[in-house]
C-alpha cells in the first residue's frame, strides 16, 4: 500500500470489522451438539438403528487413568519451550525486520538471507541440523536448548516479514510529522511507528504464537520429553496410541484456547484508539 492511500482519514475505514455473530445462543447450542457428536464417536457405544449398525471407537479408560498424569507432566516443558521460543522469535523478528528495512545494503541483505533460509527449509529438518549436525562439529546442545533456538530462528523469520509489513503499513505521514517535530529516526521508530505497527500485526503475531506452541511437539524428535514425546512414550509399549495421543491433543487444545482468550482481550484493548 502506498503512503498516499494510507491517509489518516481512511485508516478507520480500513479497519472496519465483520459484524459480530448475531446468534450467540444458537451458535453455542450447535457447538455443544457437534462436540457431543465427536465425543460419541469415541464412546465405545454400539447402536443399531434398524438396519444401520453404528460402532464407535472404544478407548481404554483404564490406560488413560493410569498414564494421563505421566503424559501431563510434559505440559510444563511444552509451555516453557513455547515461552522461551516466543521471546526469542519476537526479538529476532524485530531485529531482522529493522535490519531488512535499513538502507545499508550489507545489513539488509544479511537479514534477507536469514529470512529466506529459515522460511525455505522445513522446521523438522532445522531441528535435526541444529541438534545432530552441530553436535557432529563439536557444538553439543541439549534437546531443549536446540529446540528453543530452532523455534526462535524459524518463527523469527516468519514473524520478521509480519513486522516488516506492519512497519511499512504505518503511513509515512506519521514519520514526517515526527521528524518535523525534531524527533530522531530512532525515537520515531520507537515511539511512533512501532506502537502503531504492533497494533496492526497483533492478530497475525498471535496466530504465529499459537502455531508455534503446537510446533513445540517437533522437539520430541530431538529427545525433549514434552507432551507429544511423553504421549508416544506412554502409548508405544502398551499399543495405546489413540488414548495417549488424545490426552496430549486435549492439552494442546486447552493451551490454545487459553492463549486465544488472552489474544482476543489484547486485541480488543489495542483497538481502543480506533473506536
Amino acid at each position: 500500500m502506498s503512503a498516499e492511500t494510507q491517509s489518516v482519514t481512511s485508516a478507520p475505514a480500513a479497519r472496519r470489522r465483520w459484524p459480530r455473530l448475531s446468534f450467540p445462543i444458537r451458535y453455542r447450542l450447535w457447538l455443544v451438539f457437534w462436540l457431543a457428536l465427536v465425543v460419541f464417536f469415541f464412546s465405545g457405544l454400539q447402536l443399531s438403528l434398524g438396519p444401520l449398525q453404528i460402532r464407535t471407537i472404544a478407548l481404554d479408560w483404564e490406560f488413560v487413568g493410569k498414564w494421563w498424569q505421566f503424559i501431563s507432566r510434559g505440559v510444563l516443558t511444552t509451555i516453557s519451550l513455547a515461552f522461551f521460543a516466543i521471546i526469542g522469535a519476537t526479538v529476532l523478528a524485530l531485529v531482522s525486520a529493522l535490519a531488512r528495512l535499513t538502507p545499508v545494503a550489507s545489513i539488509s541483505s544479511l537479514a534477507g538471507l536469514y529470512i529466506s533460509l529459515f522460511r525455505g527449509t522445513p522446521l523438522f529438518l532445522q531441528m535435526f541440523i541444529v541438534y545432530f549436525g552441530l553436535a557432529q562439529v563439536g557444538l553439543v546442545l541439549d534437546g531443549f536448548t536446540a529446540a528453543v533456538v530452532v523455534l526462535s530462528l524459524n518463527y523469527g523469520a516468519y514473524m520478521s516479514e509480519i513486522f516488516r509489513a506492519g512497519i511499512e503499513a504505518v503511513s509515512h505521514g506519521q514519520v514526517e510529522a515526527a521528524y518535523a517535530l525534531g524527533m530522531t529516526p530512532a525515537q520515531t521508530m520507537r515511539r511512533i511507528v512501532l506502537p502503531q505497527a504492533v497494533r496492526i500485526i497483533t492478530p497475525d503475531i498471535g496466530n504465529q504464537f499459537i502455531a508455534m506452541q503446537k510446533d513445540t511437539a517437533l522437539a520430541s524428535a530431538i529427545t525433549v520429553t514434552e507432551l507429544a514425546g511423553r504421549a508416544r512414550q506412554a502409548g508405544s509399549p502398551n499399543n495405546r496410541f489413540f488414548e495417549a495421543l488424545i490426552v496430549a491433543a486435549l492439552w494442546y487444545w486447552l493451551l490454545t484456547l487459553i492463549f486465544s482468550f488472552f489474544q482476543e482481550r489484547l486485541e480488543r484493548r489495542m483497538a481502543r484508539s480506533d473506536r
Partner: protein, 297 residues
C-alpha cells in the same frame, strides 16, 4: 529550567518565543529573551527570523526549486500561492529539511544549516533546526495511537526534554486557547477533520517554534470544515506567530497575509502586500492563476 507562570508560557508559545528551555546548543543562547532585550526593538523587528538563501532542489534533471531567496521578519505572515507543481510545497519541505535541498542554506534565528552535506553533524543540525520550525500538514498526520494530549506533549518531552508536568501545562494552555480543552483525552480518529487539523496546529505550537509552516492545511477538508481551521490560523497570526502558509484560500491570503508570494516553475515571480499581488497583479501568469483560483474560492 523554568517557565514563568502558565499564562506567560502560553503567551510565549503564541508569540513564537522560546522561554526557559534547556539551552544546550549555541543557537539557543541567541534565542533567549535576555539577548533580545539587548537589541533595540527596531532591530529585533528587522532582523529576519527565517532566511532562505539561493535554495535549489533537483530530482535528477528536474529542477523543482531554482534559486529561492526568502526572508521573514518576526510576526510576519507570508502566503505562498501558485499552481500545483510550482514548488510551493517543496520549498516548505526544504525549509525544515524533510526534503534535502540540493543547494543553498536555511537560517532560523541565526542558526544556519547549509544544504547537501551527508555528515553526522549535518543531521544533528537538522534536528536542531526542526525544533525551531513547526509544520502543519495537509493530511494532519496526528499520531493515531495517542490521545490529543499525548500528541501535544510527546515531542516537548522527548525532544526538548521538558518535564511532564510542564509539557502538560503548556499543552492544556494551548488546547484551551484553541478551544479544544474538551478533546484532551480523545483519540484523533474520533475527531472531525477540522478538529484534527486544529490539534495538529496545537501540536506544532507545543514545541514553541520560531516559525510555523502550513502545507495546504485546509485542502484535505470538507468545505464546511475549513472555516474553523482558518479561524485558528487567523488567531495565531493575530497573536504574532510567524508563519508561511501554502494555500489556495485567496480570501485568507488577502485578509491575513502581510505578504503574498506567487511561485511558478520553482522561482518567486511576484511578491508584495496582498492588495498589490492579489488586487493588482502585474505578471500574466499570476493574472491567469488568480482568474482560476478566485473562481474556486
Amino acid at each position: 529550567m523554568t517557565f514563568g507562570d502558565k499564562e506567560t508560557a502560553g503567551l510565549a508559545a503564541l508569540a513564537g518565543w522560546r522561554q526557559g528551555d534547556n539551552l544546550t546548543a549555541p543557537i539557543d543562547r541567541s534565542l533567549s529573551p535576555c539577548h533580545l532585550v539587548t537589541l533595540s526593538p527596531c532591530h529585533a523587528m528587522t532582523e529576519p527570523i527565517l532566511s532562505v538563501k539561493n535554495l535549489h532542489k533537483r530530482y535528477g534533471n528536474l529542477e523543482v526549486l531554482r534559486g529561492v531567496d526568502l526572508e521573514l521578519a518576526p510576526r510576519e505572515v507570508v502566503c505562498l500561492i501558485g499552481r500545483s507543481g510550482s514548488g510551493k510545497s517543496t520549498l516548505l519541505r526544504c525549509i525544515n529539511f524533510l526534503e534535502e535541498p540540493t543547494e543553498g542554506e536555511v537560517t532560523v534565528a541565526g542558526f544556519t544549516v547549509p544544504a547537501g552535506e551527508k555528515t553526522r553533524e549535518h543531521r544533528r543540525q537538522i534536528l536542531q533546526l526542526r525544533q525551531r520550525v513547526g509544520m502543519v500538514f495537509q493530511q494532519f498526520n496526528l499520531f493515531m495511537h495517542m490521545t490529543v494530549l499525548e500528541n501535544l506533549i510527546e515531542a516537548p518531552i522527548l525532544v526538548r526534554g521538558l518535564k511532564r508536568e510542564m509539557a502538560v501545562a503548556l499543552a492544556e494552555d494551548l488546547l484551551q486557547r484553541l478551544g479544544l480543552s474538551d478533546k484532551r483525552d480523545v483519540y484523533p480518529s474520533r475527531l472531525s477533520g477540522g478538529q484534527q487539523q486544529r490539534v495538529a496546529i496545537a501540536r506544532a505550537m507545543a514545541m514553541e517554534p520560531m516559525v510555523l509552516l502550513f502545507d495546504e492545511p485546509t485542502s484535505a477538508l470538507d468545505p464546511e470544515l475549513t472555516g474553523e481551521v482558518l479561524q485558528t490560523m487567523r488567531y495565531l497570526a493575530r497573536e504574532g506567530t510567524t508563519m508561511i502558509v501554502v494555500t489556495h484560500e485567496m480570501s485568507f491570503a488577502r485578509d491575513v497575509a502581510d505578504r503574498v508570494i506567487f511561485m511558478d516553475q520553482g522561482v518567486f515571480v511576484e511578491q508584495g502586500p496582498p492588495s498589490q499581488v492579489i488586487g493588482a497583479p502585474k505578471d500574466a501568469r499570476l493574472r491567469s492563476f488568480l482568474d482560476l483560483g478566485l473562481g474556486r474560492g
